[in-house]
Structure formats: C-alpha cells, structure tokens
Amino acid sequence: MINDETLELHKFMQARRTLFCYSGPLSEDLLTQISNPVRQQLSESESDEGVAKRVFGVFVEQAQNIIRYANLRADTGEGVGTIAISVTEDDGFLIEAVNAIDSDKRTALESTLLELSMKDAKELRKMYKERLRSGPPEGSQGAGLGFIEMARRVQRFEFEIADTENGPVFVYRGYVS
C-alpha cells in the first residue's frame, strides 16, 4: 500500500469534521478566493446566521494575521500558515490556526492574548472601543484590533507558543457555538 498517508489524511479530516483547511502561503487575493467557499460551507452546516458570521469573522481576522505577521514567508512574500474550520462534538465550530512568529514578538503576543482570555464580553467591547479611539499600537499593520475582535466572537479560545527548531510557532484554537 503506497497511499497510507493519503488515506489517513482523509480519515483524519473526516473524523474531525473539517469543513475547510488550508496550509501554505496566504495572500489577500487568496483570502478573496476562499471566502465564498468558506461561507458556503458554514451556511450549509449552520442555520444560525449569527453563528456562521462569528466563525467567518474569526477566520478572516486570523487569516489576515497570517498574511501580515507570519514569520515564515514564501519566496513570493506571502505569510505561511495553516488555518482550519471544523465542527465540534456539540455541533459548534472550532477555528484553528498555526503560524511561525518572530521571537521578538513572543512576549508581547503572549501577554496580549493572556489578558484577552481573562476578559468578559463587556470588558472586551470596552477595550475594542478604546483601541479604536487610541489607534494602532507600534508594529501593527492593522488597527491592532484583530485579536480583540476574535476574542469577542468566540465563546473561548486557547493558545500556545510552541518552540520548534525554526523558532516559535503560534497555535490558536477558538470555539464558536
């Protein structure tokens, strides 16, 4: 049997009820191309439009994080990462993403996400508004609002910064139901 891994890949994705998965160089162009199929998949598996929209919102913000900040870049300059949406056991959604990050940004990212993970919806809403007024923090290409937006749309999220031989890798899991 020469195709063990291929079959395993299929079984793995099916068992995890993965609606969409992409791994590789990501650009705004590609995000445009995949937005409609992602939305279609979401609306087929979720009747509540609000839930589907929240999943899509987290997906867009995290895809743009990879596009802008992934430390591993393709030869053509795009940020390289993995992003996936799967259905959970309770028929909610799991948005997962992995990308290499700059070692210098590790501490800042960790403290930002730790702070966000401890805030409730009301606090996150207030924080988002304050950040909107104050403008982006240094080093941000967006408005610095992306992770706050993601935290507002998920029920909960987990993250980890794993050490690899090529440097730190950011691992994200957000749950929407």
Partner: protein, 128 residues
C-alpha cells in the same frame, strides 16, 4: 461617487445630500478602499443644510472598524460646525454583532442624529 459592491467591499453612493453604503466591508487593502471615500466626502459634503448617512453593513473586519471610526469623526465635525447630519444604521434582525457595532459608534456621536434601524431582509447591494 458611485461604486458597485464587490465580494469584499460595499456598494457606495455619495452625493451632496447623502452617503449610502450597503454590504460587506473587509477590503484587501483598507487604505486603497478608504482614501477615495474620505476624499470624496471632504469635497462633496456641504458645510450647511442637511445630510443623510445610510449604512447597512452585514460584516466588517477590524481594519475597517478604524475606517468607520474616521468616517463618523468626519461627520461629527461637520455636524458640530452646523450641518444637520442624520445617520441611519441599518442592521438585520438578530444580527447582534452589527447592532452592538452601531450602538458603539452611535454612543460617540453628539452632534449627529443617530438612529438604529432593524431591517428584515437582505436588500440590494448584498454581495453574498
């Protein structure tokens, strides 16, 4: 200014009496999207009389939130200087995300008249 909706940008209509935007807003390049809109507003919105802003957004990303913040700041300054500005923030029923976003933008507007309006069905310009 008249710009049809795209998959990632809303329908935009701007004239000397009204600014209307309907649809999605998560442009590939926020500066490329926002610069012409803001410069059109600066050149066509009058200093006196009245002006209506009609917004019906289905989704916008965090980069676009900054654009809308600047957009409202522009109208707030115009209104403070004497233009009667009415903002209609249309959101679909059950869309808590867009309702909350409208509430948050509206809270900061003192000189503009701001109204949250629940709408039933998708209207024209829906890029989905």
């Amino acid at each position: 200014m008249e710009q049809a909706a795209t998959q990632r940008t809303p329908l935009i209509e701007i004239n000397e009496a009204r600014c209307r935007m309907v649809g999605e807003c998560y442009p590939e390049n926020i500066q490329e999207f926002s610069a012409p809109v803001m410069s059109t507003l600066r050149s066509v919105v009058p200093d006196a009389g009245s002006f209506t802003v009609d917004l019906e957004l289905f989704y916008f990303n965090s980069s676009s939130a900054k654009f809308f913040f600047d957009f409202f700041e522009f109208f707030e300054e115009k209104a403070a200087a004497g233009l009667a500005v009415k903002v209609n923030w249309n959101y679909r029923e059950d869309d808590d995300t867009m309702l909350e976003a409208g509430e948050d933008f509206g809270e900061d507007l003192e000189s503009c008249v701001f109204e949250l309006i629940e709408v039933q069905a998708p209207s024209e310009g829906d890029a989905q």
